[in-house]
C-alpha cells in the first residue's frame, strides 16, 4: 500500500493500528542524517594497499601498516577497533513479545511497547540474556553477576521512545578475547594467530528502520526491527588493517553461528560492524580516529578500513588533520565519506532505566534454592551446554582425521562444508585425507565457481562417497573419477555407478588388451623407446601418459607401468 503524506496527515490518528501500515514523516528533516557527498572526489586507486606485517609476536604485538608512498620513508602505524552489533536470534524481541522475523511486511511485528505507547513497560526476554551469556562465555568474558540497564536518549524517527535501552554503566559481559588466524603469505600454510580483546558485550534494543523516499520527499518508518535484541560487542583497537578486522569478524560470525546466538548475516543486517580507525607514527600516541559505518560484508569491511587508513595517511602526509567524524563507506566507489557532523556533539543524557530491576544471573552455587529454574539464568548450565566452537572443531578435525590445519580452516569456515565432509566419511572407508581433497578442491571449487553455498550443492555426500569408493576400490581411475564428478554435477539424476556403467568407464585391467595398446604406442614412438632403453627412465612417464590418452584415462596405471617396464627392460 502506498500512502502519500497528504492522505496520512489528513487521517485521524487516534491509536495504533500497525499491521501493514507505514508511518511517514517528512523527508527533508531525516535527510539531514543521510550521507552527504561533500566534495569528496572518487579518488581511485592512487595508493598501494596497506599490508599487515607482523614484527613481533610477543604479547605487545606491534603491527605496522607499512605503506609505500614513494618519497615517504617513515612508516605509519594503523590502529583499528570494532564495534559490532549482533542481532540476537530469538523468537521474540528483547523487551516485548512481538515476533522477530526478517523481511516481514512493514509494521506487522510491532507490540504496544515497541511503538512506545504510553504506559507500556519493558519485560526482559530470558532467551536474549542467555544468548548474551553464551556469547560472553564463548569469547572468554567475565560474566557480570549483576548488570544494569540504561536509557540513551536521542530523537530519531525510528526510535519511538526517544531513547534506547542499553547497558552503558554495567554490561552483562566484560574482558574477553577472540582468537583468529590470518594468512600472512600467499600460501595456505602461511598463517598467524592473532588475538583481539573484547572490552564488553552489552544487551540493547535495535531501532526501527527509516526508508527515505526521495521522490515524495518523505520518510517511511518500519518498526518491525524496533526492540529486537542486540548484543553490542566492543573490540579493543588491537587490529591494524582491514584483513585482520575481516578475519576477526569472520571468526566471530562462526562462533555466533555455532552458538546459535545470532544468524550473524551481514547482508541481512544481523551483524553490523562499525570500525574505529586511526593512524600514528611509531612511538607516538594514537592519532585522531574516525568511525566508519555502513559496511555490509566482511570483504567491504577490509576494503573500507584499508581505504580509510590510506586516506588518513595521505591527509597527514599532506599536512592536513584528521577530524573525529563518522564516515560512511560507499561500496560502489570503494571510498569513505563524511556522514554527519558530530559538531552538535550528541549528549545522550544517559539515565538508569527505572522500569527494569538489576539483571542478576546466577551460577549453580549462588542459585537461590526456592527459585524456579525457568525464571533465572544459570551460567554453569549454559557453560555445560556450550556447543563445540570453531577453534575446538578445527583441532578435532586435525586430530581425528589427520588432515592439514589449513584444510580444517576451510572445512570450518565454509558454512556446511565440515558437515558435508563428515557425512561423506560416515558412508565410506576412504581415507579422510583423500576425501578432504575432493571436498575442498572439487566440490568447493565447483561451488565457488558458480557462487553457490554448500547446501546448494548438486552432489550429495553419499554420491561423493560412492564415487570415491569406486576410485578407492580400483573400479575407476582418478581421471575417470574427475570426469564422473563433472557428469554428476551437470546431471543430478544418476549415480556414479550408473554413469560408469553406461559410459563404459571401468578401469581396463585386461592385460592382453593393454599389451596391444602398448605395443602400438611403442611402435609409433621408436625414439622414446630407444632413449628409455638407454636409461632415461623419465621418458617412461610420457609413454604412460600416451597410453592413458589412448584409453581415455581408463587404463589401470599400475598395470600399464608394469607392462611397459617389462617390455623396455
Amino acid at each position: 500500500m502506498t500512502l502519500t503524506s497528504r492522505t496520512v496527515m489528513a487521517a485521524p490518528r487516534q491509536c495504533c493500528c500497525y499491521a501493514g501500515m507505514l508511518l511517514w514523516l517528512s523527508q527533508r528533516g531525516a535527510g539531514a542524517f543521510a550521507p552527504r557527498y561533500r566534495g569528496v572526489k572518487p579518488v581511485s586507486v592512487l595508493m598501494s594497499q596497506a599490508r599487515c606485517t607482523q614484527t613481533d609476536t610477543s604479547t605487545k604485538r606491534a603491527v605496522t601498516a607499512q605503506v609505500d608512498l614513494g618519497d615517504s620513508a617513515v612508516p605509519w602505524k594503523a590502529v583499528v577497533g570494532l564495534e559490532i552489533h549482533a542481532q540476537i536470534s530469538s523468537n521474540s524481541k528483547l523487551f516485548s513479545r512481538a515476533q522477530v522475523q526478517f523481511a516481514a511486511p512493514p509494521n506487522s511485528l510491532v507490540s504496544f511497547f515497541d511503538a512506545s505507547l504510553p504506559g507500556t513497560l519493558p519485560v526482559l526476554n530470558r532467551r536474549c540474556v542467555e544468548a548474551a551469556v553464551m556469547t560472553g562465555l564463548a569469547l572468554n568474558c567475565r560474566i557480570n553477576r549483576k548488570s544494569l540497564f540504561d536509557r540513551k536518549h536521542y530523537f530519531y524517527a525510528d526510535l519511538p521512545a526517544g531513547y534506547q535501552i542499553t547497558q552503558q554503566r554495567l554490561p552483562i559481559a566484560v574482558n574477553g578475547t577472540l582468537t583468529y588466524r590470518i594468512k600472512t603469505g600467499k600460501k595456505w600454510n602461511q598463517m598467524a594467530t592473532r588475538t583481539v580483546r573484547i572490552k564488553q558485550i552489552q544487551l540493547e534494543q535495535d531501532s526501527g528502520k527509516s526508508l527515505h523516499d526521495e521522490e515524495k520527499s518523505q520518510t517511511l518508518i518500519d518498526l518491525n526491527r524496533a526492540g529486537v535484541g542486540l548484543m553490542e560487542l566492543v573490540m579493543e583497537p588491537d587490529m591494524c588493517c582491514g584483513e585482520e578486522a575481516a578475519a576477526a569478524v569472520r571468526e566471530l560470525q562462526l562462533i555466533l553461528l555455532a552458538l546459535g546466538s545470532s544468524q550473524a548475516n551481514m547482508s541481512e543486517g544481523q551483524l553490523r560492524v562499525d570500525a574505529n580507525i586511526s593512524v600514528h607514527r611509531p612511538g607516538e600516541s594514537y592519532g585522531v580516529r574516525t568511525e566508519v559505518k555502513n559496511i555490509n560484508s566482511a570483504r567491504f569491511l577490509a576494503k573500507a578500513i584499508d581505504y580509510e587508513i590510506q586516506r588518513q595517511i595521505e591527509e597527514l602526509e599532506r599536512g592536513g588533520v584528521i577530524l573525529n567524524e563518522t564516515r560512511s563507506f560507499d561500496y560502489k566507489l570503494g571510498i569513505t565519506m563524511p556522514m554527519r557532523d558530530k559538531e552538535g556533539k550528541q549528549d545522550y543524557r544517559f539515565m538508569p532505566e527505572p522500569n527494569l530491576p538489576p539483571l542478576i544471573v546466577y551460577d549453580s552455587r549462588s542459585l537461590p534454592p526456592s527459585v524456579d529454574p525457568q525464571q533465572v539464568v544459570n551460567i554453569d548450565l549454559i557453560q555445560e551446554r556450550l556447543p563445540e566452537l570453531p577453534a575446538t572443531c578445527r583441532e578435532r578435525l586435525v586430530e581425528q582425521y589427520g588432515i592439514l590445519p589449513e584444510h580444517s580452516y576451510t572445512l570450518v569456515n565454509e558454512d556446511g562444508l565440515m558437515q558435508f565432509f563428515e557425512s561423506v566419511l560416515k558412508v565410506t572407508q576412504v581415507e579422510p585425507k583423500k576425501v578432504v581433497g575432493w571436498v575442498i578442491n572439487d566440490l568447493l571449487g565447483h561451488l565457488k565457481l558458480q557462487n553457490l553455498t554448500v547446501k546448494d550443492s548438486r552432489i550429495s555426500p553419499s554420491t561423493l562417497a560412492e564415487l570415491l569408493t569406486l576410485l578407492e576400490n580400483g573400479k575407476i581411475s582418478s581421471t575417470v573419477a574427475k570426469q564422473v564428478f563433472q557428469e554428476l554435477w551437470e546431471d543430478e539424476g544418476k549415480s556414479p555407478s550408473q554413469i560408469v556403467a553406461e559410459k563404459n568407464l571401468q578401469l581396463i585391467t585386461d592385460r592382453k588388451k593393454l599389451e596391444e595398446i602398448i605395443n602400438k604406442i611403442m611402435e609409433e614412438h621408436p625414439e622414446e623407446v630407444i632413449q628409455i632403453r638407454k636409461g632415461q627412465k623419465k621418458i617412461l612417464n610420457k609413454l604412460i601418459g600416451l597410453v592413458q590418452r589412448a584409453t581415455k584415462g581408463q587404463a589401470d596405471p599400475v598395470l600399464v607401468k608394469t607392462i611397459l617396464e617389462e617390455k623396455l627392460s
Binding site: C15, L23, G119, F155, M351, L356
Partner: protein
Amino acid sequence: MLGLTLKEISTSLKKGQVSPTELCQRCLTFIKTAKCLNAYITVTEEKALKQAKEADKRYRRGQPLGHLDGVPIAVKDNFSTAGIETTCASKMLKGYIPPYNATMVQKLLDQGAVLMGKTNLDEFAMGSGSTDSIFGPVKNPWSYSRHYRKKLVPSRQLETEDSNWLVTGGSSGGSAAAVSSGTCYAALGSDTGGSTRNPAAHCGVVGLKPTYGLLSRHGLIPLVNSMDVPGILTRSVDDAAIVLGTLAGHDSKDATTVQDQFQSFELPEEIDVSKLCIGIPREYHASGLSRETVALWSRAADLFETAGAKVIEVSLPHTGYSIVCYHVLCNSEVASNMARFDGLEYGHRCEIDYSTEALYAASRREGFNDVVRGRILSGNYFLLKENYEKYFTKAQKVRRLIANDFLQVFSSDVDILLTPTTLSDAAPYVEFIKEDNRTRSAQEDIFTQSVNMAGLPAVTVPAALSDRGLPLGLQFIGRAFCEQQLLMAAKWFEQQVQFPEILLEGDLDSLLTDYTPKQQLYKTHPVS
C-alpha cells in the same frame, strides 16, 4: 445512597436494595449535576450502563464477583483504558485512545466494577492543585458544603459566587472530587510525590499510597517511574483495604512488582492500638504549617497515647533535603519519559512538516503546557554529561539517605509514623494561582514526597474540619509491605474522629434533585 461507603453500597447491592443499573443511573445523573466540579474529563455513560447490566445479571443469578461488582468507580485519566480516550489532561494526548487496559483498570473491571469515567488532573500529573489541566481546574466539592459556606465572611460573599471556590489539591483532584462529592465509591489516582494523598486530604476522603512494587504500573502513563504508584481514593479506610485487595499483586507486565503473593485482608471492627508505637517525626514541624494543623496533629497523638499506644518523637534528619532532591529526580525522569511524545506514532502533531526536527519541536511546544516543558528542560539539564554527577547522582545519594532515615526509624520500635498530610486546608483558586506550579508543588508535597522517595506505604485520613469548615487530613506512614498494620491504625483513628459528612448546598444543591434523599438516606439509614 450516593453518600454511602463502598462497603455499605456493596451490602445494599447484595441485599438487592438497589440494582447495579439503578445505582449506575443515579451516579450518572449526579455526575451531570455536579458537572461544574469538572471532576471528569470523560464520562463513559454507555459503557458504564452496559457493565452495570452485566452486573445486574450476576446479582440476579446470585453470583456477584465480589465487593466491587456493580460498584461505580472512576479512574484518573492517566491510566490507559482500552477504547476510551486517555488524555493526561494534555493537548498532547487529546484524542488518543489506547488499545489496551492498564493492569489496574483491568483488575477493577474483572471484579465487575462499573467505570463511570476518567477523572481530571494536572497535565501529566504534574501539579498539586489540579488547576493545570487543558480541561480547566477541578473544583473542590467542599466549596459548596454547608460547613464552608456558612463560615464565609460576609465581605467575601459579596464577591461573585465563583471567586470563593477551592482547589482540590492534586494532581488526582478529579478522582478526589469524584469520590468526595458522591459520584462514585472509589477512584484510582496516582501518587508520585503526594498526588493521591494531597487531594484526598483537601477533599476529605481517604487516600492510600501503597508500597512501591505492590501494585502494577503497567498502563499508568508515567510521571516518575521509580516513584509512581497507583493510588486509591475512597470514603473509608475499610474501602481502601477492599480496593487494595483487588489491585495488589505481581504483574508479569511490570518487572518492578514484587513476586510475593499478596494476602488480601479485612480490617476488624475492634482494633487495639495499645501495642503500637507511633513515631512523630520532629522535622515535620515545617515552616508554613498552619496552627490548627499542628493542634490537630497533637490531638491525634494524644488520642493514640490515651489508648495505650507508645508515642515517641523520632528524627528523619534528611527530610529538609527531600523536596529539592525530589525535583531533580522527578524532572530528570520526566525529561526521559516525555521523549516519546514526538507526534509520530500517536498524539498531537503540528502542521509544520518541513523537517523532522521542526515537526518534533513544534508538536512538543504546542502539545505540552509550560509546566511540562519547564520540567523537561530542567530534567534534560540535570542529565547532561557535565551535570549528571552534580545533580542526578547526588540526588540519588540523598534519596538513599532519606530512605535510610525511614529504615532506621522503623528498625527501632516504631511501627507507624504520624504526620500532617498538608500544611493547611484547601486554598481558594484565586489564592492558589498566585504562585506558580513549582512553588505550589514544593509547598504541597512537603510531607508526602519523601515517602515516595523511600517507596513506603502511606495513607491520609480525614481528621477534622478547619476553622473555615474545610477538611484537614493526617498521614500515617508504615513499613514497606505492611499495609495491613498501617490501615488498622488508620481505621482506628477514623473511628475515633468521626469526620463529618459533606453536606452540599448552594450552586450544586440548587441544581440537584437527587441530592436531598441522599443526605437523608445517609443520616437516617445507617447500613448495618
